[in-house]
């Protein structure tokens, strides 16, 4: 009798079905900063935040913090051909435009040698300086800036 193959097929079918039935994935009540979302579901994206249009400089929160960008930067290209940021923040134009000058540390190589122009390692502004959106904090934050920086 060929009963063995029949048993095997039925068994494997049953297993496949049961696996299907128990495939539902739960987060186990774990909540991330993105909220509760099942792993097998794609959460719809939140609306894009609007970037601050144009504000006065924003105070640093800690020593050596790269100052954040308080204005829009849409379409500002920074590449080997041009650097839009430096057309205002470069030393040549900062006085005329009233922009904050880039700090002298930007002229230094990693060996501490000072160059005559911006060092390649400090050329790509948005690696450290980012535009800000008017958005609430994702998680509660009790961080307090150091007093010596003179923040409110």
């Amino acid at each position: 009798m060929k009963i063995l193959p029949i048993i095997m097929i039925t068994a494997s079918l049953a297993m496949a079905l049961s696996v299907q039935a128990y495939q539902e994935v739960t987060s186990g009540g774990l909540e991330t900063i993105r909220g509760i979302a099942k792993i097998n579901e794609t959460k719809s994206a939140e609306a894009l935040k609007r970037v601050i249009k144009d504000k006065n400089p924003i105070q640093r929160n800690y020593v050596h913090q790269p100052p954040v960008v308080p204005h829009q930067t849409r379409g500002y290209r920074v590449n080997k051909d041009s650097n839009k940021c430096l057309t205002c923040h470069g030393w040549k134009y900062a006085r005329e435009t009233g922009a904050t000058k880039i700090s002298l540390t930007h002229f230094e190589t990693r060996d501490g040698k000072t160059l005559s122009d911006v060092s390649p390692r400090r050329y790509f502004c948005s690696q450290c300086h980012v535009t800000q959106a008017d958005a609430p904090e994702l998680v509660d934050n009790l961080f307090k800036p150091v007093e010596s920086l003179g923040n409110d």
Binding site: D54, G75, D81, S82, T87, C88, Y93, T97, G98, A99
Partner: protein
């Protein structure tokens, strides 16, 4: 009839056309003029559309792709400035002058001056400088067709814009293109360009 009198009668026939023929000729001339002028103007307008501009791959694959990322293509209010709005003057005489000058671009297309991305990049500075020069000379006329200085509300502008527009632009010391280079296309190597 002698030969002489034959010629004389022919001449007198030619010299005194019937008045109907005179009107006919005038009518043909008038109708021909209307058709020619209408056709010329229609053809001129056809060459003044975005669809015509990007019918060459040199434009479609390079400058048009770059322009699609910028605010003159996509923005909150849905107003769009297409190629001719910035690159062709609105006034008729200036438009004709520009169109005649553009025949050089047709030659460039036929000879394949910028028919690859690499060739285009090699010529980008030269091409950009030509446009900057044109806009500098006409005081950024094509910008001002939409962005009229008289109509600007400084209270609606950002701090940075007010500062520059109320000083350098207001005094006529600078014109739009002096600061707003590369707003619709990528920039060439800017080494040695004023203000860069």
């Amino acid at each position: 009839m002698t030969k002489e009198s034959k010629i004389k009668s022919l001449l007198s026939y030619l010299k005194s056309p019937s008045s109907a023929a005179l009107w006919l000729i005038l009518a043909i001339g008038f109708a021909g003029g209307v058709i020619f002028w209408g056709g010329f103007n229609t053809a001129l307008e056809v060459t003044n559309t975005e669809a015509f501009c990007i019918s060459c791959h040199e434009m479609e694959d390079n400058v048009y792709e770059e322009y699609k990322e910028t605010i003159h293509y996509s923005n909150r209010s849905g107003v769009r400035a297409t190629c001719p709005d910035c690159h062709v003057p609105k006034k008729w005489t200036h438009k004709i002058v520009r169109k005649i000058a553009a025949s050089k671009e047709v030659w460039g297309m036929l000879t394949g001056l910028i028919d690859t991305r690499e060739k285009f990049q090699d010529h980008r500075r030269e091409l950009a400088e030509r446009e900057w020069k044109r806009m500098k000379e006409n005081d950024s006329l094509e910008c001002r067709n939409c962005h009229n200085f008289e109509y600007m509300d400084f209270s609606e502008q950002g701090n940075r814009s007010v500062k520059m527009h109320s000083s350098a632009l207001a005094s006529g010391e600078k014109t739009c293109i002096d600061c707003h280079k590369g707003i619709a296309h990528e920039l060439p190597d800017m080494k040695g360009v004023d203000n860069w």
